[in-house]
Every structure is written in C-alpha cells, then in structure tokens.
C-alpha cells in the first residue's frame, strides 16, 4: 500500500515537471526559430556576421558557464598564439615542410572548437526545427575539420609541385625550434584535452595506412623484443602518430639541409607530411561523411538483419520493406520501416512486437503498418467494442504489484500481453528471457472483436482498469500532447530510479 502511495504522489508530480520543461524549451527555442537555426548551421565559420553576433555571444556564454570548457578555451588561446608564431617562422624559414606541419597545429585548433561544440550539444535539447537534436553538429564539425585539413594538404601538394620546378633556399635557423614547439603543443593539446568526438571517430573509423604500417613494423619489432608488446601492439592514436612522424620528417630535413644543403628534401618532406595528413584524415572524414549521408553503419548491418528476420517471421507479418536505418549522431541509431501484415492480423499487437524487437537497437524508431485491401467490408464490419480496452488492466496490474515480486509478475501471462495458453505451440524465438518469447496468437476474424479480454479475466487490479476504459477524447488529447517524448524519456534510468522504494 505504501508503494501505491508513493507512485501516486510521483504521478502527480512528474507530468507537471515535464510540462514545465517543455515550456522552457519553447521559450528558448521556438521563440526565435530562424535566428537559432542560423546560429546553429553557421558553425565556426563566420562568427563575425553582425546579426548573429548577439546569438553567438549568448551561446558562447552558455558554453563558457561550464567550468570544463575553460580549459579548452585556455588551450585554444595558447594554440592561436603558437600557430601565429609558427606561421611567422614558416615565413622566415621559407620551409614548405614546416608549413605543412603547422597545418596540423591549425587542425588542433579545429578539434578544440569541435570539442567546445560537443559540450554545447550536450546542453541542448531537440528543438522544433532540429527535431533529432543537435548531435549532428558534432559530426558536421568533425567532418568539416578533417576536410579542411585535407584541403590544406592539397594546397601544400600544389605548392610543392611548383617548388619542384624551382627550389628556393630554405633557412634552417628556426626550423628545428619550430618543429619542437609545434610537436610539444600538439602533444600537450592531444593528451590533456579530452576530445570526445575525435576520440570516438578515430576509434570507430578504419585504420589509416600510417597506422597500418606502424602496426606492421611494431609487430615485427615485438617479435624481437617481446617486452615492448604492451606498449606497441595496441592501436596507435592516429593524431599522436602523425605528429611524431611529421616531426621525424622535419628532423631528417633539418639534418640533410644542414649537412648536404639538399634543399629539395624540404619539399619532399612537405609532400610526405601532406600525404600522411591525407592518410590520417581520410578514414575519419569517410566515417563522419557516411554518418552525414544517412547511411546504415556497416557494423550494425548484421545485427539489424537478424532483427529484421525475426520481425518478418512474427505471426501476421508478410514482409518488411522500405527499411531505412541511419545514425543521428555518433552512435544512436534512428530508423523507419514499413511492415506489411495479413489482413486479419492485429495491427497494434504487431506494432508492439516489432517495436519491441527493434527498440533494443534503434532508439528513434517509426514503424508503419500496412495492410492490403483494408477497405473490404469483412474487416471494418463495425466499431470495435469497448471490451477491447479491458486489456488496460496489464498496466494497472504491474503497478500494483510490489517491486519485489516483479520477477514473478513477468511469468504471469497478463503481463506479456500475449494470451498464450499452456498448450500453445513453442515460440519461434526463444531467447531465454521470460516475457520475450511471445507467440502472438491472432484469433480468427470472427473473434476479432474480443481478443484481449483474457487479462481482464484474471481480475488483477480490475479497479484501476475500469477507470481507463472509456476516456473522453479531450482527456486523451491533453495527456498525449503533454508527453510528447514519453516513450523515450521515461526510460531514462535517472528518472526511473527515483521510484525505487
């Protein structure tokens, strides 16, 4: 009884809370929708545009209010100073290789901006215009920064080709200093700032050729010195790798120019650094570009196929078509699917089962149920009687059960919404999880009108069930529209944990 009290109390509280949250977001977002979009889409490219400056400052203050982003901002300022120094030295040494290496420092600046953006994204809720949320900003930022660095490398290649025609003199005075300053700053930034999106992408994307070669070399090295295996064998961080390799190339350049005055080595190592930049960035831009192109990630295709096969063998399902699955941000899947079912199958039941199957993998899911020839009179003989609604007892029943007996509750038939009899045939999919091995029994069309009153027949918590039997239209509308994201948001552990006794 205590449990009931608690639940009732919480119930009266949460919807209000939810509503308040929604109005908040309304004030924040829907009020000036287009300005917000502009601000969002423009991304770091033009902060100076006048009409968005105020908005930008507002969003910036939002991000800066978080203490963790101060560190990123500090590193950003340091990076800008370092880059300016390096660019000056590039100019004075007239070295192409150092310029190519400086672009890596500029890339670090981009990655810091991406990092800021990802912390901004976590503060934002989905708005009306960006209904999927703002996670894609992160992806776009990663894509843009990798592509920008590759374009810079392309520019380096072009300049190097021009230099091969006529090699100018390279002064080695600041070359080594610049190399070590850039290496130090890059490694410091990489290792001390926790850059979530780039870490994710560099782990998820396929290995670059640089990584492959280093892995191959270190594998053969570990054959000689096995003690190094813990250090060398794991996957190398591509950014650290390219920084070290670039510094190495610059060191060789310095030596050769100092000893033999081979100025062409500078151009050659610029080409090498540019090629390494391409090699490192290309897999990442392919990965993030594929997310932007709304493609199904190839690593989940196996799982998805398995789930879809399961779905297509559900009772009543004829075929699954128009399946689109894609990732919203880094990680979370969204998708839509059309399911064609038999004419006599129960749509809501199939919908529930399909959703239940796919929901484990796809978090934002839309399933359209399709029936052929639904206009034929045998099916729509009349309005479904209200007796169908007595199935609402399930919810009430589980609410009344004390939490300790939830295991037991699962084994009860009413909870699983499947009216399986003990003598029913074995389920098609047995996953050793009670409650999931459901064989939806679709009654013949003559019994169509009273499929779910079995739960009511058990009479558990019938009192509450009666209340929900014939809700007024008005009541339904308010309740549904007040909880637009109910299904997803209610499953958050943070919210559900407070109901624990």
């Amino acid at each position: 009884m205590v449990a009931v009290d608690v639940i009732n109390f919480q119930d009266s509280d949460t919807p209000l809370h939810r509503k308040k949250q929604e109005t908040d977001t309304y004030v924040l977002w829907s009020g000036p929708p287009w300005t917000l979009t502009e601000q969002g889409t423009i991304h770091p490219f033009r902060k100076t545009h006048k009409s968005f400056l105020g908005k930008f400052v507002q969003e910036f203050n939002l991000v800066a209010s978080d203490r963790r982003s101060w560190k990123i901002l500090l590193f950003g300022v340091m990076n800008v100073i370092c880059t300016a120094c390096l660019l000056m030295w590039c100019n004075s040494t007239n070295s192409m290789a150092l310029t190519a290496y400086t672009y890596l420092t500029i890339f670090d600046l981009f990655s810091l901006i991406t990092c800021l953006m990802s912390s901004w994204v976590t503060m934002k809720k989905p708005s009306q215009l960006f209904s999927f949320g703002f996670e894609r900003f992160e992806v776009l930022a990663v894509f843009a920064s990798t592509v920008l660095v590759q374009l810079g490398a392309l520019f380096i290649l072009k300049e190097s080709v021009e230099r091969f025609v006529e090699q100018p003199e390279v002064h080695t005075g600041r070359l080594l200093v610049g190399t070590f300053v850039a290496l130090f700053f890059n490694l410091l930034t990489l290792l001390s700032v926790k850059n979530k999106p780039f870490v994710y992408v560099s782990e998820a994307a396929s290995t670059s050729w640089l990584q492959e070669h280093v892995a191959d070399l270190s594998r053969s090295l570990c054959g000689i010195v096995p003690a190094l295996s813990s250090f060398l064998l794991p996957r190398m961080n591509p950014f650290v790798l390219i920084n070290l390799a670039g510094a190495f190339a610059l060191g060789i350049t310095y030596m050769l120019i100092e000893i033999n005055n081979y100025n062409a080595v500078d151009t050659a190592s610029a080409v090498a650094i540019a090629l390494m930049t391409f090699g490192t960035m290309y897999p990442m831009s392919v990965y993030s570009g594929k997310v932007l192109l709304q493609t199904t990630p190839s690593h989940v295709i196996g799982q998805l196929d398995k789930l879809l096969r399961e779905v297509s063998t559900l009772d009543g399902v004829l075929e699954v078509r128009n399946e689109h699955f894609w990732t919203v941000g880094f990680g979370s899947l969204a998708g839509s699917v059309h399911v064609r079912i038999r004419r006599d199958a129960n749509e809501q039941m199939v919908l529930a089962h399909v959703t239940n199957r796919l929901h484990t993998l796809v978090s934002t899911l839309t399933v359209q149920i399709f029936k052929d020839d639904w206009t034929r009179p045998s099916l729509v003989s009349g309005v479904l009687p209200a007796a169908t609604l007595s199935a609402s007892d399930y919810g009430g029943a589980s609410g009344f059960l004390p939490p300790a007996s939830s295991k037991q509750a699962e084994e009860l038939d009413p909870l699983t919404s499947t009216p399986t009899k003990p003598s029913s045939p074995p389920p098609e999919f047995a996953f050793n999880t009670p409650g999931k091995n459901i064989q939806p029994v679709v009654l013949p069309s003559t019994h169509q009108h009273r499929p779910y009153n079995l739960g009511g027949g058990l009479g558990v918590g019938a009192g509450l069930g009666m209340g929900a039997r014939l809700p007024s239209v008005q009541g339904y509308r308010t309740s549904f529209s007040a909880a637009p994201h109910r299904y997803g948001s209610n499953l958050l552990p943070s919210q559900t944990s407070q109901y624990r006794p």
């Binding site: 423009i42 920008l148 529930a352 029936k371 169908t388 399930y394 699983t416 309740s479």
Partner: protein, 701 residues
Amino acid sequence: MDDKYSSNVISGGKLGRVEVPNARLTRYIVLLLLTKMLKALGIFESYDLLKVVHIVQFVFILKLGCAVILLFFQKPFSTGKMVAKRQWIKILKHAVISSIISLLGFFGLTLCGPLRTLLLFEHSDVVVISLLSVLFTSSGGGPSKTRGAAFFIIAVICLLLFDNDDLMAKMAEHPEGHHDSALTHALYTGIAFLGVADHKSKVESWSGLIMPFVMIIFSVMILDFYVESICTAKLEAPRSARYGSIFLFLSGLLLANFWTHPLTDQLRAMSKPGQQASTEHVLSGGVLVSACFFILSDSILSSPSKKGQKGTLVGYSPEGIPLYNLMGDALQHSSQSLPRFIKDSLKQILEEYDSRQIFYFLCLNLAFTFVELFYGVWTNSLGLISDGFHMLFDCSALVLGLFAALMTRWKATRIYSYGYGRVEILSGFINGLFLMVIAFFVFVESISRLIDPPNINTVMLAPVSVGGLIVNLVGICAFSHAHSHGASKGSCSGHEHGHSHGGHGHSHGHGHSHSPGGRGMNANMRGVFLHVLADTLGSVGVIISTVLISQFGWLIADPICSLFIATLIFLSVIPLLKDACEVLLLRIPPEHEKDLNFALEKVQKIEGVLSYRDPHFWRHSANVVAGTVHLQIMSDVVEQRVIQQVTAVLKDAGVNNLTVQVEKEAYFQHMSGLSTGFHEVLAMTQQMESMKYYKDGTCIM
C-alpha cells in the same frame, strides 16, 4: 616430438611460420654466396668485354656457349618426354623473348655500368611478381609489401636523381650505342650474323677472348642456373631469392669498389683497353643509398606473404572460434575491365544534363591547362607553369562535382537506403569549404603583399588571364544556363505536383518559383558554379591589376584586387554552405516549414486522431523530403484510413517519403506487457497513471 617442434619455432625466431633451421642449410647458403659472387664478377667482366666486342656478337656467343653446354648436360632430345609441336612454338616464343631481354640487359650494362645494372636488373622473379602485384592490383598483400614497393621506388628514384653518374652524358659519349640503332641492328644481325660485317668490332684476336667468354658463360649462366635451382628446392623460393639478391648486391658493391684497384687487375681479363674507364661508373653516395634500399625492398618483397583474406566478423561459433564472412571481399573483386568501365561511366556522364555540362567544361579547362603547361615548358616560363598547376588544382573541384553528379544516380543499396542523392549535397559542402580555403589563402597572400608589394612581370600575364577569362566565361554561360534550366524544371515539377494533388498544389508550385535565387540548382552544381565564378573573378582581377600596373605603375593594385576577390568569394560561398549545413544537420526544410506546420495542424483535425508526437521532417536530397511521425488515435478508428489521410496531407506539404506509426491505447498496453524490465514496467504504468490523472483533471474541470 614436442621438443623438436618447439625448438623449430624458437630457433626460427618467428612465431607462427616454421622454417627449417639455418644450421642444416649453411652449405647451400655458402654455395649461393659463392655463386652470386662469381656471377657479379662475371657481369663486371662482361662489362669490360662489351667494350671490345659488339653487343650482338657478345649475346650470340653467350647464348651459343650456354646452349652447347646445357645440351651436353641435360640431353633434352634423348631423355625425357618428346616435345610436342605446340610446345615447339612456345619454346620459340620463349627463346625470342629471352634473347631480347638479355640483349636489352647487356645494352643497359654498356650504358650504366655493372653495379647499376646489377641493382636494377638482377631481381628474382618472386620480387618482381610481388612488386607488380602491389603496384597494379588492389590486394598487394598487406602494408609490408606496400612498404617494400615504396622502398623499391625510392631506390630507383635515388639512382636516377641523386647518382652523379649521369646517364645522359654516357648516352652522348657512345654515339654508336643509341637505343634505336642497337635494336634495329640487333634484329638485322640476329638473322644473318656471319654475312654482316659492317659492325666493326674492335677485336684484334678472338683467341684472347676465349677464356673470358668461358668464364662469363660458366659463372653468369650455367653455375647460376644450377645453384639457383638447387637452392630453390632446398631453401624454398622466397628465401633463396632473398639471400641471392642480398649476396649479389653486396658482392656487386664490393667489386665496384675494388674493380679499378690494381689488386683486381689480375682478375681482369681485359686490362689492355679502357684505362680511362677507371673514372666512370664509380661508387657514389646515391648508389650506396639506393643499394641499401634495394636490399631492404628485396628482402621485404621476397618474404612470403602472410596474406589472409579480409573478412568481416560475423560472430562466434559455439566453441568460441571467431567466424568471418569473406563475401564482401569477393564481391569487390568482381570489377569489369578498365576500358569497359571508362566507356560505361562516359555514357552515364553524357546521359544527364548536369554531369554533361561539368564534363565538357572540365575537358575545356584541362585542354587550356595543358596548352598553358606545354607553352610554359616550351618557353621556359615559370609563371605559366605555376599558373597551369593552379588550374589543375582548380580542376579537382570540378572532378569532385562530376563524380558527385555521377554518384547521385546510383541505385539505392542496403547501406545507402535512401539512394545516393545526398552525395551531391555533401559534395556541395566540400566545394564550399574548398572555396573558403582558397579565399583564405588568397586573403593571407594579398595581405603579405600589401605590406611588401613585389615587382610583377606583366608581360606574360595579360594573354594568359584573358584566355582564362574566356574559358571561364564559357563555363559561366554553360552553368548559368544549367541554373535556369534547373529552376524551370523545378517549377515545372511543382506544377505537375500541384495538378496531381488538387487545389493545394497550386500555392505549392508558387512557393517553388518564389524561392530565393540559386535554390533551383542543386548544391553540387551551385558549388561548381561558384568555383567557376571565383576563377572568373580572379581572371578579371588579374586583368585589371595588370592594366593598372602597366599603365600607372601602381604595384599596390594587385593585392587590393586579390583582397577584394577573396572577400567576394567568401561572401558568395556563405549561402551555399548554410543551405548545405541545414540539409546535413537534418533541419526542417525552410521552404516547407510553413506548409508542414499547417499540415500538422490539419493532421490533428483528422477524425479520430488524438495527438501526434515525434514529428521529424528533413530533406534527404534534392528531391526526397523524408518524414516520420507517430500518431495516437482513438481505439475505434481504422488505422489504415488514418494513414492514408495523413499521407495525403503531408504529401501535399512536400513530404514524399513518409512513415506513420499509428498507435492506439492497446499499443501502450502491449508495450508495457512486453517490456520485461522492472523500470520499464514502472514507466509504462506511470504513463497509464498520468493518462488517468489528466482524465480526472479534465473530468473535474
């Protein structure tokens, strides 16, 4: 038994591959070493010999001696199987080709000296095959082989560039040894050797040459052949190839160091002539470096490949062994031949208007670029050459646009489930970024020139920039035509759309034609168009600044022009980037926003619909606007009818790829029953409760 096995593994020094221990094979390795040293010696000697004997005669004598000895040893006619007629033809082909190869090899020997010939020519077939497979096939056999191939190329480049023994001078020194004449004469004299005597070989006495010839035949041909075959049998082919090439190169290096030394003069059979040769083909730093690289690359390339097919992990077997799917790899290799592929893609390119325009313009641009480059090389003008490279750099954007326009029409696959239409938006975005980068570089460059204006030579500038301007103007005409074409097509489709869907469509069509300029064209074409526009601006700027500089001597006009151009490019790219970003970020398409809001209101008024949630609408590509929405309807309404109505309403609002999930109360009950976790049950219950709460609230009110 266990002992033996483990000792094998450990003494081999390699886990996984078991090799025969070296101890048992030492004699074969020593034999190989001796043979290779003798071979190197023979090649050095034949270099000396070739100075007095003509190359064709030399090769003839070599082959003849070889044939006689092998005939004597092997007895091909008296033992073994009879040679069939068809095999004779093959043997003939083999003979002709191998004699041509050896002719070329010894010709190279006369040109670049013995050591360099050894380095370039004497690679075993294992090495050559794996090098070719790395260079020309996709599955080279892992990163190590790629590294080996890279080393090989670096070694060749080292030999070509950093070796001060320059071949061109040598070519000029040997007026009788030109490539063409040698080849033609080789054919000519190969037929009738005895009769032809117009090749004066500077031989005084053939008798003095018998010993060296025997030595060369024995060491280069016979001994090498037998020892190589024995070692291949005993040591396995890769290993013997590795050791053989290493020994050969090392002994070549040694001999090259001591060949002109008095100590080796006893070894030299031909010490009389060519004393001036002591200065040619000596060791140099470049040769040493490239020899190191050759040894490295040979040892890498000849190592047996641990080639495993790339497969995707499917899962684990019941025993815990990982299972791989090799299908993807097999599918990748089923590509058609190159000419067919080019023909097909050309056909595809020319089919569609957009890609045809880009392709023609690309051809024009490339033609202009190459004319410029050739003229630049011809007149040795650096400015022209660098401008040509700049044009090539710009062409990359066009290539990108062309590729995207081609890809857009590919069929939808399992991974690209909506089709490839989005590629052109991404390509537009990349082109926008490209222009940003260009604008940035121009900006930086012009600022540095503003501070310190350099002296510009305006002689060559004007005609080139006028040519560029003309080319780009053609491009602008073509693409702006495409622009209007695209726009009109868009409005046309809008009207059609309107007709098919009754009265509502009319306003929709109007919305299309009123949309801001540039929207009619897809993002890809806009990117390409802006690129061409930027180039045109650049040409105009160059022309203006040239006129200003040559007329008034205002050197500052050039950086100011470039500043202006950079700003213009920057400003013109921003709308493109903004639109592409909006699409990529899955924003509600701005041109449909009002329609959609209106349509959603309409949806809510459909009979039986209680509410809707999670409305997602986004533009997927130029002609796909996708959407998903969840509807809650009353229990007594037929779902399919609602779906039909909603689809019709949203289709009028421009959504052409819609998924509607229709939920009744029963759905939530099923879901709450199906969700087995305690928290989920609680959450579901709570929903039911909240529903009741509201119902109560409204009842009270």
